[in-house]
């Protein structure tokens, strides 16, 4: 249908004029990004039994240990791991499922921890980068592959890449280089050390097959 509205009609105040008007009148500016709260403040009181309410004190299985933790209903797994459980190896690069730096395993499947609500992993097994090496310090084969090939540069993306690879190899133990690249292509490396990363992860896959 043809749009016959003209600029002069009352229903079509130019957006620019409108915005300028609103702003000049003193509009509040929004900047909501990472949100979390350890205490209840200002009109956000927990409403026990109210609609959508959930138990806050829960137990999570992380790296083989049961960890009791106080979790808000809107809290993401990445925030719980980093700020409640002290597991800062899981990195936040974007907080919107774009970069993969926060990848962890949930029941052996790689997930972006920034985009998983903590309450949804109750009863599941979560593994982070801190949980890969053995108690005696022996590295996981994928970690060993990274060490042998000096994979990665700044390494901020490394925990996510390693977890994504461990998860991928569980279902694809013998990938070609190209298949492995596809398997972990949901992870960004800004140093763009992709070639060496792929060499390191391929070496990890090789070590894992031999293990």
């Amino acid at each position: 249908m043809e749009d016959t509205t003209t600029a002069a009609s009352p229903g079509n105040v130019a957006r620019r004029t409108f915005i300028k008007g609103v702003i000049a009148a003193g509009a509040a500016v929004s900047s909501a990004s990472y949100l979390f709260r350890s205490a209840t403040v200002v009109g956000q009181q927990a409403s026990p039994g109210g609609p959508g309410s959930v138990e806050r004190l829960i137990t999570l299985n992380v790296n083989g240990q049961n960890r009791p933790v106080d979790v808000m209903k809107q809290e993401t797994l990445a925030m719980t791991l980093r700020y409640k459980l002290g597991l800062t190896g899981t990195k936040l690069g974007c907080d919107r499922a774009e970069c993969g730096a926060c990848t962890v395993l949930i029941d052996e499947v790689p997930h972006y921890a920034c985009s998983v609500l903590t309450h949804t992993v109750r009863g599941k097994k979560v593994v982070t980068i801190e949980g890969l090496a053995a108690a005696d310090g022996t590295l996981h084969p994928v970690q060993q592959g990274v060490v042998e090939q000096q994979g990665f540069q700044c390494a901020f993306c490394m925990p996510g890449f390693v977890m994504a690879t461990v998860g991928f190899l569980k279902t694809n133990p013998n990938p070609t280089r190209q298949e492995l690249a596809h398997g972990v292509s949901g992870n960004l490396c800004r140093c763009q050390d992709y070639d060496k990363i792929l060499t390191a992860l391929s070496r990890g896959a090789e070590l894992m097959r031999g293990a």
């Binding site: 500016v29 979390f36 990195k91 800004r190 140093c191």
Partner: protein, 870 residues
């Protein structure tokens, strides 16, 4: 440097286990008792004046602990090093502002008990803005009657009364040696740092006779004439008034001697640095000192900047930055936003963590200067460039004058060695996020402009693509850049031709050339070659290490750890000279409380060159001290002793390094660091004093002579496959050959070379900003819309070689590599695309599938020729 045990060998860096197990701590991984969280209030408008702030509703919230506005900040910090030789002026960025100059500029910050409360407080603060004129496109601002980004004007220029060349071709411009910099700092001294960029300060200092200091640049208004726009051809950049320029050689004669003249316009996009770790920071105060956990490329050289941003003395700051998640130029001296948690913490009396989100990082995280360039090039029949006339318009962002637009001229002049050349330019202020040096600033833009022109010329002249680059390549101590003080500067060495030859062989150039442009089904392949060069080293810094009484060596490092590996590589030079196994060496880094020496910024590809020299100087100092100690202990002259196998050996006698270290402590004086050479930096002296008495202390300044500027060179080749029905591009192979002098660490050299190539490739195939020009707001603010290359964009095959020819002007022979590959990466892909689908497809980057498809349909470049950020 004859080493082979460590230098030139692969090894595992000592920080890798911490990284791969998740134990490595980046800025946001630190916690402090009672830590508050900060949030920023960002400007919703591209340019406005804040007329009223009402924080009463936020103040009333129980969890809100402090609010910070511009009035809480120290005054404008003129003189700060902003990277790439850019110095802050009186109207420099301060971190928070009452006159936001781009959408997303921080107005104020709130610290609260948790982040949700801080965010809620931000929502409750009322800010009243008075909108001001804005512009996000430099060409729009240059149009008659076009808007200015700042109330005082739209370009940076020197005052017209004294020096400034106003008209085109004004030769007076040649006398001005630098862009917007103030007087050059002595290299390696004081708080000013030589940084990434096209004009190392030492070069300027060496230019003789030194011209009188030019007046500082200022913002003024410049509009081009309607006739300038009318005179520009279809899609060509108008050649209006420039604010600066230089000429070398006889341009007119050069064009007369040309058999072919091409006149081309190319648009380089602005791109965000996008380090994967944003510039989050955590700060607290203890015993009158500020403890700051931040993300920086350089450890010691960040101290003075943070101190000035916060308004304290450098000695009142302890900076902790053990691991940095990438910088690429955006964190050379840290980040101005570090001052916000620091000052909030002071105000609130509690530690403050300020986490920066990806979207906030887009705004405050810095970006490369986009440029519009037009170049007229004269070629002889054999491909030699006889004359080159270049005009560059820089997209400066809103703050201090950037140097990329100038660097384009310098790097074009080096890589293609025109027999005569003129450069003219202007850097135009826009209401877009602040710019700074990004990996190969000006260099990438230079190669992206010139490489397709060379490709076109070779086709017209029927010359091989490798050959036309060989004919024009820099050789040996090649001259380049403006004739400052009557003389051009020159590089220490260049083996670009050898790199091209080696690359052609490795890439199978002849075979791939033969199948280039041949269509199979909907797919057509294309092969391209490109070159690039970039700064790769500075001089004059200090080496500092201790031989401990147990025989281990403890190296002190002041560079930042953003994963370049060079921060560890350089100490292997000293270990090699002292014949100590790497397993017996420790490197102390990342904390200015740990007594670090004065070192280069970890930027401008300086570390490998600068700090191998410093390591060599310190190791030489250690050897001399060891010889003297052996002489004093075992008898005989010092000269009869040599250092090998962890011992000092001579005349049938020997002592271990451990024994020598113990003896050094007993002797005191210069041996254990109680006396240090007068010529080392004050920062180093302070650190040496703190380490004195712990063992044999080696400390020395790099005073080795250097004739020329250290520049590395790369030749790159690529083969692509384009689907002409979908526009999809697949990069089949890329090959790179680096001329970086002596190879320190082969595996990391290859990784850095490929990483640099990929950064260039990202510019060629995808990265860009998108702006709504009408409202002046960005639309591509996150990875999803402004995506760096992924594993699937990487060339399927990558090959690498290094020439490994030592640099003649440095004792270790090694230069840096971080930036040199970037331009060749972009250029090789652009040329491969042109070989596949023709020269008349693109006149800008990135070349996306829609650009390819639209051009194939139209038979000519079909994108908007000059509009920026589309």
């Amino acid at each position: 440097m004859a080493g082979t045990k460590l230098v030139g060998q692969d090894y595992t860096t000592p920080d890798l286990i911490a990284k791969v197990t998740g134990k490595a701590k980046y800025a946001e991984d630190f916690r402090a008792e009672g830590m508050l969280f900060a949030k920023l209030l960002l400007s919703p408008m591209p340019h406005a004046r804040v007329v009223r702030i009402d924080t009463s509703a936020a103040d009333a919230m129980p969890g809100v602990k402090a609010i910070l506005t511009e009035k809480d900040l120290p005054g404008a910090q003129a003189g700060l090093t902003l990277g790439e030789n850019v110095r802050a002026t009186a109207i420099t960025e301060r971190g928070l502002t009452m006159e936001p100059l781009y959408e997303g500029e921080p107005i104020l910050a709130v610290a609260a008990v948790d982040e949700l409360t801080a965010a809620e407080a931000i929502e409750r603060i009322v800010v009243e803005f008075e909108p001001l004129p804005f512009v996000v496109d430099p060409i729009e601002s240059l149009k008659p009657g076009g808007p200015n980004a700042r109330t005082t004007g739209n370009v940076w220029a020197r005052p017209p009364a004294t020096a400034a060349p106003q008209g085109r071709g004004n030769q007076a411009a040649a006398a001005a040696p630098t862009a917007a910099g103030s007087a050059p700092a002595a290299p390696g001294q004081g708080t000013a740092a030589p940084a990434a960029g096209s004009t190392p300060p030492e070069t300027r200092a060496a230019a003789a006779p030194a011209p009188p200091a030019p007046p500082p640049p200022e913002v003024r208004e410049l509009k081009w004439r309607t006739e300038d726009f009318a005179a520009a051809g279809d899609g060509q950049l108008p050649l209006g008034e420039a604010t600066d320029g230089w000429t070398v050689g006889d341009l007119e004669a050069g064009f007369k001697a040309a058999d072919l003249v091409l006149d081309e316009t190319f648009v380089n996009q602005s791109t965000s640095h996008q380090p994967l770790e944003t510039r989050s920071a955590m700060a607290y105060w203890q015993n009158g000192k500020l403890y700051l956990h931040g993300s920086t490329q350089s450890t010691v050289q960040t101290v003075s900047n943070v101190a000035r941003w916060v308004g304290i003395k450098p000695e009142e700051l302890v900076l902790i930055s053990e691991y940095t998640g990438g910088g690429f130029g955006s964190k050379i001296p840290g980040a101005i936003s570090m001052a916000i948690p620091a000052l909030l913490s002071k105000k609130a009396g509690a530690p403050v963590m300020m986490r920066i989100s990806r979207e906030e990082e887009h705004y405050i995280g810095r970006a490369r200067q986009g440029v519009h360039s037009r170049v007229k090039v004269g070629f002889r029949k054999d491909g030699r460039i006889t004359a080159l006339d270049l005009f560059v318009v820089g997209d400066n962002g809103p703050y201090d004058a950037q140097g990329d637009f100038r660097g384009v001229g310098d790097w074009v002049s080096l890589d293609y060695q025109p027999m005569a050349m003129r450069w003219r330019g202007v850097t135009v202020l826009t209401n877009t996020p602040p710019r700074t040096a990004q990996r190969a600033p000006g260099g990438l833009q230079a190669n992206a402009l010139m490489e397709p022109v060379l490709t076109k010329a070779a086709k017209k002249l029927n010359i091989d693509q490798v050959e036309i680059r060989r004919v024009n390549a820099p050789v040996g101590k090649a001259l380049y850049g403006p004739p400052a003080g009557g003389k051009q500067r020159y590089v220490t060495s260049s083996f670009m031709k050898e790199a091209l030859d080696k690359g052609a062989e490795l890439f199978n150039w002849e075979e791939r050339k033969a199948r280039s442009g041949k269509r199979q089904g909907s797919k057509v392949r294309g092969a391209g070659v490109a070159i690039s060069s970039f700064n790769a080293g500075s001089t004059g810094f200090d080496g500092l290490f201790v031989i401990k009484p147990d025989g281990r060596i403890q190296f002190q490092s002041g560079v930042g750890n953003h994963g370049t590996h060079s921060m560890f590589d350089v100490h292997r030079v000293a270990a090699e000279m002292l014949d100590v196994p790497w397993e017996k060496c420790d490197v102390v880094f990342g904390d200015t409380g740990k007594h670090l020496p004065w070192t280069c910024v970890s930027a401008g590809s300086q570390t490998t060159h600068a700090m191998t020299r410093a390591a060599h100087a310190a190791a030489t100092d250690a050897i001399q001290k060891l010889q003297e100690i052996a002489s004093k202990t075992l008898g005989g002259s010092p000269e009869r002793y040599r250092v090998e196998g962890e011992r000092v050996v001579g005349g049938g006698r020997s002592m271990t390094l451990a024994q020598a270290a113990q003896k050094a402590i007993a002797l005191g004086g210069k041996y254990d660091g109680h006396e240090v050479p007068a010529d080392v930096n004050a920062f180093t002296k302070q650190s040496a004093a703190a380490l004195a008495g712990q063992g044999l202390l080696a400390v020395a300044k790099d005073s080795y002579k250097r004739d020329g500027n250290s520049v590395s060179h790369v030749a790159a080749f690529a083969e692509v496959e384009v689907d002409v029905e979908t526009g999809q591009l697949t990069i089949l192979e890329a090959t790179a050959v680096s001329d970086v002098g002596t190879v320190m660490n082969p595996r990391s050299l290859q990784g850095q070379t490929f990483g640099g190539l990929m950064l260039g490739i990202g510019h060629a195939i995808g990265q860009r900003w998108v702006y709504d020009q009408h409202y002046g707001v960005p639309l591509a603010k996150r990875f999803h819309y402004n995506k760096p290359p992924t594993l699937l964009d990487k060339p399927m095959e990558m090959k690498f070689a290094a020439l490994n020819i030592p640099d003649p002007e440095t004792p270790v022979g090694a230069r840096g590599i971080g930036e040199a590959p970037v331009g060749a990466g972009a250029g090789a892909i652009l040329n491969a695309i042109a070989a596949a689908v023709g020269d008349e497809v693109f006149r800008r980057m990135p070349v996306t599938p829609d650009v390819i498809l639209a051009a194939l349909e139209a038979g000519k470049p079909a994108h908007e020729p000059l509009t920026t950020h589309i």
